[in-house]
Amino acid sequence: MADLSVKIGQLDLKNPVMTASGTFGFGEEFSDFFDISRLGGYIVKGTTFAPRQGNAYPRMAETPAGMLNAVGLQNKGVHYFADEIYPRLKNIDSHLIVNVSGSTIEDYVACTVKIAELDNVSGIELNISCPNVKQGGMAFGTCACSAGDVVKAVRKVYPKTLIVKLSPNVTDITEIARAAEAEGADSVSLINTLLGMAIDADKRRPILSTVTGGLSGPCVKPIALRMVWQTARAVKIPVIGLGGIMNWRDAVEFLLAGATAVQIGTANFIDPEVSVKVIDGLNEYLNKNGYKSVNEIIGALDV
């Protein structure tokens, strides 16, 4: 058994495999399928200070190697999370990370302050990259200046591990990553979904109620790999890679590109047991190739 542990900010993860926000509910939805304490960490559904109804149906369009979604951060608000959901999760032996979103900097801060009260939440992932909300979300994450402002404000009120989730819908993702690092982020995770669109030719109408939505799945993997590779060389903080990971081999590719950990997202919809298969497959890969620790392959791409 190779040593799979990695470090992200103040967190020692038992392995580099996490599950991505918005694809893993609150974790408990997967308890029929596998023991979620096997995960290095799990990032629960995007949470905002006030409840949000999300966007109107239809919210999903399948594509040949992926899907578009336009959920729009439907959630019951941070107080509901703290009172109703957190008590059920707090004793699970894995790092619980809450994805925090908002429409204004004040929203992000208020939500974070509430999360900071919860002892067994290991960290937050600041979502400045949701493409499906009219205000806030991605608007913060597509400009280094506003990204830096949100990170700075949240950093002031949050002493634990702060991960910033980046949008790929930018000209230069490394610029945003550097701004997050400069304002005290412990890590950046990338990529969130790519803005896309689907059309029904027969009805001559868009498929999604919001016209545009976020593209995820294997079709985005080459873009995600490229952005992880660029970002890992541009910042000193650890990079968490995600975007189209369907199996252990995809995960290894992200680690080689420079990611210290990975998140499994859309694949959870198709194979709810995929995350443990990635952990097991990664371990086998390391053993077979004579590595004692997963850290030996992080950024070890031979170019």
Binding site: G54, M67, V71, Q74, E273
Partner: protein, 259 residues
């Protein structure tokens, strides 16, 4: 109910007509208990354009023979590929998913199960389930023409079967909501599954007669177990809820339908 990811094997793929087929599945392991209106998520192999699983309602579950039946309509690449399966092929399923219809308080209640198109699929299992509990269900099944009415011999095992076709080639001509039994007989409970305009028409009928009515929805979904939040339906008391976990069955009084 605990959800499982299981490989089942195809024992038979029965072509019902050009557009529909019936997959009969079994497993070496005992299949988990399943309820009427629940569904499975089917992984489609060998169809490059089919990325997500396909949600398919349970047409019949036969514990005695450890069999699961899926009635499938050929719509796109995924379902066409499933239509090519042969006996002995494996199929990976997540099951069972979703809720069930609610059982009336006692078997003296009169019930009508109204299905249209592929929406007749869950009504067979529900009718069988009701019959096993002492009910005498009435089935009202609608289709475009006689060749699109599916499994009539199966339905007849469990209750009285009434049909409508749009071209009048079987049963009464017209839509299900125009069938004379809805005017001539009194029902205590209506259950329906089919195209949305049909379900809305059935809901209007039930509301006008003050009859309890449950509908089974088939909103587009990615996961089937409540994490993608794509299949939402707007409800009166809880706002947007997932059809895959809070449904697929809803009482019409809980929905924001204009009826």
């Amino acid at each position: 109910m605990k959800k499982h990811v299981m490989d089942l094997s195809v024992t038979e793929n029965v072509s019902l007509n050009a557009n529909y087929f019936l997959l009969k599945l079994t497993s070496d392991q005992k299949l988990p208990d399943m309820l009427p209106a629940q569904f499975v998520e089917v992984k489609v192999e060998g169809s490059p354009n089919t990325f997500l699983r396909r949600p398919i309602s349970i047409n019949n579950y036969i514990p005695e023979t450890n069999e699961l039946w899926l009635l499938v309509q050929k719509v796109g690449d995924g379902t066409h590929t499933l239509g090519k399966l042969n006996a002995g092929d494996n199929l990976n399923l997540v099951l069972p998913l979703g809720n069930s219809f609610s059982l009336p308080e006692n078997a003296s209640k009169s019930v009508v199960l109204i299905g249209g198109g592929v929406g007749t699929a869950p009504m067979l299992f529900w009718g069988k389930y009701l019959k096993e509990r002492g009910f005498t269900p009435n089935f009202l099944l609608g289709a475009r023409s006689a060749s699109d009415l599916l499994q009539l011999d199966e339905f007849q095992k469990y209750g009285s079967v009434y049909t409508t076709t749009e071209d009048g080639s079987h049963g009464e001509k017209g839509y299900v909501t125009q069938h004379s039994i809805l005017q001539n007989q009194q029902f205590d409970h209506v259950y329906t599954c089919g195209p949305k305009p049909m379900m809305v028409a059935v809901a209007k009928y039930a509301k006008s007669k003050a009859i309890s009515c449950e509908v089974s929805l088939e909103n587009t979904m990615a996961c089937g177990f409540g994490v993608c939040l794509c299949c939402v339906e707007n409800t009166v008391n809880k706002g947007n809820v997932c059809v895959c976990t809070e449904g697929p069955v809803f009482n019409i009084t809980d929905l924001q339908w204009q009826i």
